[in-house]
């Protein structure tokens, strides 16, 4: 009997726990917070949670692919900040043109990241730290280092993002649509599969004929775009942009990806798990408010959860040393 238990526990720790732990944690959190304070399930609070989750999810979409490749994008937050400022400045006059411009800026910035990383052969965290500095400075220069309020809150783009469609705010719906499209690419196309091959072993992928740099550049470009759109979502929730509004989203996006169970070492995980990670993170911060955890203590809990998640998701026995 003891033998069977031991074997069972071994198998659980081996694979299944790793794969299902985030889902179990999510369900447990919903249960605990819901029982503690049933107000959690009220429609308005749920919308608050989901809005928060959609922001986190948007910031983490491209980051998931980047991390799946074994790289990291540290410019996400600065890109979001810069785009929040630009979008807040332009949306009143340009309308949908401003949205298009933001997408193009995101693509251009992400492309820059990808090119610096692959062509100059610099580790991604240094490359994006450098470009992130550029985005940060631009955000301050463009905004004159101050908050930019949206002049015409009633313009069509802002109205669309604030509207609800079948009880679901449009901003949430758009994020989920983008997530679903990227998920389909990731799981069902050759390009998506190649993210896993590269993340598992770059030399093996290269020797099997995969154009590694192409896929890296694509992942970073998408990451730039989703970071830029995070800036738009931020403006749509608080009606202004500011040069440090998005900064926390660099670390948040990494935390979400890791909490979902994507390994920082690459090759394992994906966007499906990132959705779980975003929900966990959103419910964690909202739940702590609902339950009444002191605001100043909340980061301790978040930090502990991130460390735990990384512990579970990484195959640490395979890593002799971490740098």
């Amino acid at each position: 009997m003891a033998h069977i238990l031991k074997q069972g526990a071994g198998a659980l720790l081996g694979g299944t726990v790793k794969r299902t732990a985030p889902v179990v944690v999510l369900l447990m959190m919903i249960a605990v917070v819901g029982i503690w304070n049933p107000a959690f399930f009220q429609g308005s609070n749920l919308i608050t949670v989901l809005t928060l989750a959609s922001l986190l999810l948007m910031a983490s979409l491209g980051q998931t692919w980047v991390i799946l490749l074994g790289s990291i994008d540290l410019s996400v937050g600065y890109m979001a900040s810069m785009c929040s400022v630009i979008f807040a400045l332009l949306v009143s006059d340009w309308g949908y043109g401003a949205l298009l411009l933001i997408v193009l800026i995101g693509i251009a910035g992400g492309l820059l990241n990808g090119l610096v990383y692959t062509m100059l052969r610099i580790p991604s965290f240094i490359a994006t730290l450098g470009t992130g500095g550029i985005f940060l400075s631009l955000a301050y220069v463009i905004s004159n280092a101050s908050t930019v309020a949206v002049a015409d809150v009633g313009n069509p783009v802002m109205r669309l993002l604030g509207r609800e469609f079948l009880y679901v705010p449009v901003s949430i719906g758009l994020t989920v649509l983008l997530w679903a499209a990227m998920l389909a690419y990731q799981n069902f196309t050759p390009g998506g599969k190649k993210l896993y091959y590269i993340g598992t072993s770059e030399p093996a992928a290269w020797l099997s004929g995969i154009r590694i740099n192409r896929h890296k550049i694509l992942a970073f470009t998408v990451s730039g775009m989703t970071a830029a759109l995070t800036g738009v979502l931020l403006v749509s929730t608080i009606y202004n942009g500011s040069p440090n509004l998005g900064d926390p989203y660099t670390l948040k996006s990494i935390a979400v990806v890791v909490m979902g169970g994507t390994a920082l070492t690459g090759g394992v995980g994906g966007l499906g798990r990132t959705m779980i990670g975003a929900l966990i993170m959103a419910i964690l911060s909202n739940g702590m408010n609902v339950v009444g955890v002191n605001v100043y203590f909340q980061n301790i809990v978040t930090g502990a959860v991130i460390v735990l998640a990384a512990m579970l998701s990484l195959d640490r026995s395979k890593i002799p040393m971490l740098k």
Partner: protein, 457 residues
């Protein structure tokens, strides 16, 4: 084996006695505590540090006074070591700037010093120490080795049999990972050792020699004056349809690099590779793959297999674009293909969803071969395809190679043993110091002897 002795790797079984006491080393540091150390073939000193820093690397604490390093004492000890080894370099020289022979003697000096301070006789492993030395330096090294033989036990690894006989007291011969003889050197001759190293005569059945066929006249691959500076020069040869050709040569002869260059994984400085008369672009492996060249790398764990992925993913990696319909991959088709290959190659796996790292080495190699077999290749390059594989799986791989040749695929390979090279191939190309020096025919009815090939190396 020597790596286990010095604690670099841990053994799967057996035991080791030091001074009559059973020991097991989990690191080189633990082995050093027993004064067992190795001077590696490929230099273990840190090139960007000075002689002094290298000599006492990891043992600086022996020179501390109140937590700080006493440099004067350290330098004095350093000079003593240099004197003992009769070296004329300065302690502040950067190791990078020193000749290889000096570096080797420095390593030996370091090991001797370590044994002195612990008061235990050391065991020093010298791995092919003479390959980087000229004859004067070899003499110097041998003098020093002789002068310390009273103080130390020395294990000397070498392919140069004459120098072994000149120097050592006892010879242990290894073949295919087994020790087969341990004899006093004075009873031996070079010829006798060679005989023991080669062992049994060629087993024609094992290598399916009866299935060897004459290649057709049609040239598939032509290599013309291929050069990678510092690796190999002016390599030219042809591969014909259905032909198996082996590259043979000692370590460092450049044969692995030749293969990588043909596959586009190592950029050549000069020369061309032609496939059916068409010049290939050798910039990247994917270009070679598109033309129908496959490559099985030596490093199976890192370069051959995708360890975190399942068998299906490992088989289909080269076929993604072909399998996709309207840019989407039909799930079932990939799995079906993987199942087919699992069956065809008799991979011991319960399902295509099994992770490749759960398979044995031989079965992993079969999966890696499957990805090339499935993608319709004209040329297959194999870098030590049977390394670390059990005998049964080896035979199955030989059968696969024979079948491929029957289908007209041209095969370029290099094996772990000369027997394997001779047994499998139609022709052997001998590489020496990066140059093609000889071609030896190896037809089914007149296989050259191992000795014949060894002489050409």
């Amino acid at each position: 084996m020597m790596k286990i002795l010095v604690g670099y790797e841990t053994p799967d079984g057996g035991e080791m006695l030091v001074g009559g006491k059973k020991v097991q080393f989990r690191s080189t540091r633990e082995a050093m505590a027993y004064n067992i150390g190795m001077v590696y073939q490929d230099q273990a000193l840190l090139p960007n540090l000075t002689v002094l820093q290298n000599l006492f690397l990891g043992y600086e604490h022996l020179f501390t006074r109140g937590g700080f390093i006493d440099h004067r004492k350290m330098k004095q000890t350093g000079r003593e070591i240099l004197d003992m080894m009769r070296l004329h370099c300065s302690l502040s020289d950067e190791v990078e700037a020193l000749p290889l022979s000096t570096r080797e003697l420095l390593e030996i000096g370091r090991l001797l010093w370590l044994s002195e301070i612990s008061g235990r006789p050391p065991v020093i492993v010298l791995d092919e120490p003479t390959t980087v030395l000229d004859s004067n330096e070899i003499r110097q090294l041998f003098d020093i080795v002789r002068s310390i033989r009273d103080k130390a036990g020395i294990i000397f690894i070498s392919h140069h049999l004459q120098e072994v006989l000149d120097l050592v007291d006892r010879v242990v011969v290894f073949r295919d990972g087994r020790d087969i003889a341990s004899l006093p050197a004075r009873d031996l001759t070079v010829a006798k050792i060679q005989e023991m190293m080669i062992g049994r005569e060629l087993n024609t059945e094992y290598y399916l020699v009866d299935k060897q066929r004459e290649p057709s006249e049609r040239v598939v691959l032509e290599v013309k004056q291929l050069t990678v500076h510092g690796k190999f020069q002016d390599i030219s040869f042809q591969l014909r349809e259905g032909e198996i050709v082996s590259l043979v040569g000692l370590d460092g002869s450049g044969k692995e690099e030749v293969c990588r260059a043909i596959f586009g994984a190592l950029k050549p400085d000069q020369g061309d590779v032609l496939l059916f008369g068409k010049r290939l672009n050798l910039k990247r492996p994917d270009l070679a793959i598109r033309e129908g060249i496959g490559y099985v790398p030596q490093n199976r764990r890192e370069e051959g297999a995708f360890q975190h992925l399942d068998i299906a993913a490992n088989v289909t990696v080269t076929l993604l674009e072909k399998l996709a319909k309207l840019m989407f991959l039909p799930r079932k088709k990939g799995l079906q293909l993987a199942r087919e290959w699992i069956e065809k190659l008799r991979v011991r796996a319960s399902s295509p969803h099994m992770l490749i790292r759960q398979l044995s080495g031989g079965n992993q190699q079969k999966v890696i071969l499957a990805k090339w077999l499935a993608s319709d290749i004209k040329v297959l390059i194999l870098d030590h395809p049977t390394r670390g594989i059990d005998v049964g799986a080896k035979e199955e791989i030989y059968r696969l190679l024979r079948n491929l040749a029957d289908q007209g695929v041209a095969i370029l390979m290099m094996c772990d043993s000369l027997e394997e090279d001779i047994g499998l191939s139609n022709r052997l190309l001998v590489l020496k110091d990066g140059r093609l020096t000889q071609e030896i025919d190896s037809p089914a009815d007149r296989k050259p002897s191992v000795l014949e090939v060894i002489r050409a190396l």
